[in-house]
């Protein structure tokens, strides 16, 4: 791992968390769809990071979000779940031996792979997030509805962002 990738990721962390906390914290459609675009940072972490480091990064990211959202622990649990889904999905679909892509971006992996990857990770993250936040089952159907719409909204924004910075490598 060279220093350029580390710098890019640190920059991405600050940028996405800044956007999330300043802008997207105040945004929602009919109180149903609330975007959590900061998960893009966790999605785009390089392939070669060891698992423990991945979990620690997810933990710190979740802790930072929790501090700003006043929801101690909820974002931590959601980010850690996302990391578990990410590791499992990559283990199943990507052969690490003859593989030289550094990061799972849309440009590197193709639209189909990236959209399934993002959809699975985001829905796991949002399920944990919304149900831990509500913390009761009497509002089950309404929470599930909010979770579904928020997942679609986040997924849409993330794929949009990926297309804006789309750079397919010349092969």
């Amino acid at each position: 791992m060279n220093s350029k990738i580390i710098l890019v990721n640190i920059f991405r962390w600050f940028l996405l968390l800044f956007i999330q906390i300043i802008l997207l914290r105040n945004l929602s459609f009919y109180s149903l769809a609330t975007p959590f675009v900061y998960v893009l940072f966790l999605l785009l972490l390089p392939f070669k990071i060891p698992n423990l480091l991945l979990y620690l990064i997810a933990f710190v990211t979740g802790l930072t979000l929790d501090a700003f959202y006043d929801t101690m622990g909820v974002h931590i649990a959601a980010c850690v779940t996302l990391t578990f889904v990410r590791i499992s999905f990559i283990a199943v679909t990507v052969n690490k031996d003859n593989f030289d892509e550094p990061e799972p971006t849309l440009g590197n992996m193709g639209f189909k792979w990236f959209s399934i990857y993002a959809a699975l990770c985001i829905s796991a993250h949002h399920l944990v997030l919304f149900f831990l936040e509500t913390f009761r089952l009497t509002e089950f159907s309404y929470t599930l509805l909010r979770c579904l719409f928020s997942t679609l909204f986040t997924l849409f924004l993330i794929i949009l962002i990926e297309f804006v910075f789309y750079n397919r490598k010349a092969r």
Partner: protein, 279 residues
């Protein structure tokens, strides 16, 4: 032993997940309980300062609206003062308060962080322990209804569980027929302009546009306007009515709030703690 180690190492992602998820879950649950020990939230120095600085821009943009609301409140207070003076001159006043001074004192505070998009919304204000705030005090907005309860206090900042929070419940009553109910938010609809009154006995006739005020049984003083009935026909399946109301308070433009200090709160608490537990 060696095989166990190989097994754990092979599925390390899963075991790390279990460990970190349990940490997150533990923090969530311990934060939900009454005694919160973890202080990583917006009363924290760093986070609080960040929000204070970021709020400066928003504050200037809403200055016109804030001015208007303050002016109208001033006008209202002036008329009230005049009315009170008239009563005084008749020299035949019945003062409801048992103390010479009033039971409630108000303290103005500026909102430095607010949210309306979550299930559990928290507001942060720029007053804290140094100004005499304590957890559990009631907070209202200038002339337009309830805001919530103080949650945590640090030296110069405090967080409020906004009415838009699952743990916030306010005892309210309908102005016309004194029907008593509990104000909650978000159980059916997370619209920040709507809230629900639960547990109203179902022999009351509730009309649309009836005004809802606080009952005085929570930490709020009685008679603070909360909202207006907007829907009465909500089927719940129990023996009580659930009423949808339209809140007077617009949480999306909240700029200043009043924290209410209740002088008799301690006395009431210690008196009521002597009762046998009836739950």
């Amino acid at each position: 032993m060696r095989n166990l180690w190989i097994f754990i190492n092979r599925y390390n992602a899963f075991f790390f997940f279990i460990i970190f998820f349990i940490i997150g879950l533990y923090l969530t649950v311990s934060n939900n309980s009454y005694q919160r020990s973890v202080a990583v939230n917006s009363t924290n120095e760093v986070v609080g300062n960040a929000y204070t600085n970021l709020n400066v821009l928003k504050k200037y943009m809403n200055l016109g609206d804030v001015n208007d609301s303050l002016a109208s409140e001033n006008a209202k207070l002036k008329t009230e003062v005049l009315a009170l003076k008239k009563i005084d001159s008749a020299k035949n006043v019945v003062v409801k308060d048992s103390l010479n001074n009033s039971q409630y004192t108000y303290l103005a505070a500026r909102v430095i962080k607010n949210s309306i998009t979550l299930r559990n919304n928290i507001i942060t204000i720029n007053r804290g322990k140094a100004d005499g705030l304590a957890s559990g005090m009631a907070v209202i907005s200038p002339g337009k209804g309830v805001v919530g309860y103080i949650r945590d206090v640090s030296d110069h900042l405090a967080t409020i569980s906004s009415l838009l929070h699952k743990d916030t419940k306010v005892s309210v009553t309908l102005k016309k027929n004194n029907a008593l109910g509990t104000l909650v938010w978000g159980t059916k609809n997370a619209d920040f302009r709507k809230a629900y009154i639960k547990d109203v006995p179902n022999h009351f006739k509730i009309a649309l546009k009836d005004t809802v005020v606080t009952s005085g049984f929570s930490s709020f003083p009685p008679g603070i306007p909360v909202g207006r009935v907007s829907n009465t026909g909500i089927a719940t399946g129990d023996n009580f009515l659930t009423i949808e109301i339209e809140l007077f308070n617009d949480f999306s433009t909240l700029q200043y709030v009043y924290v209410i200090k209740d002088k008799l709160a301690e006395e009431q608490k210690s008196l009521e703690s002597k009762l046998p537990n009836e739950q």
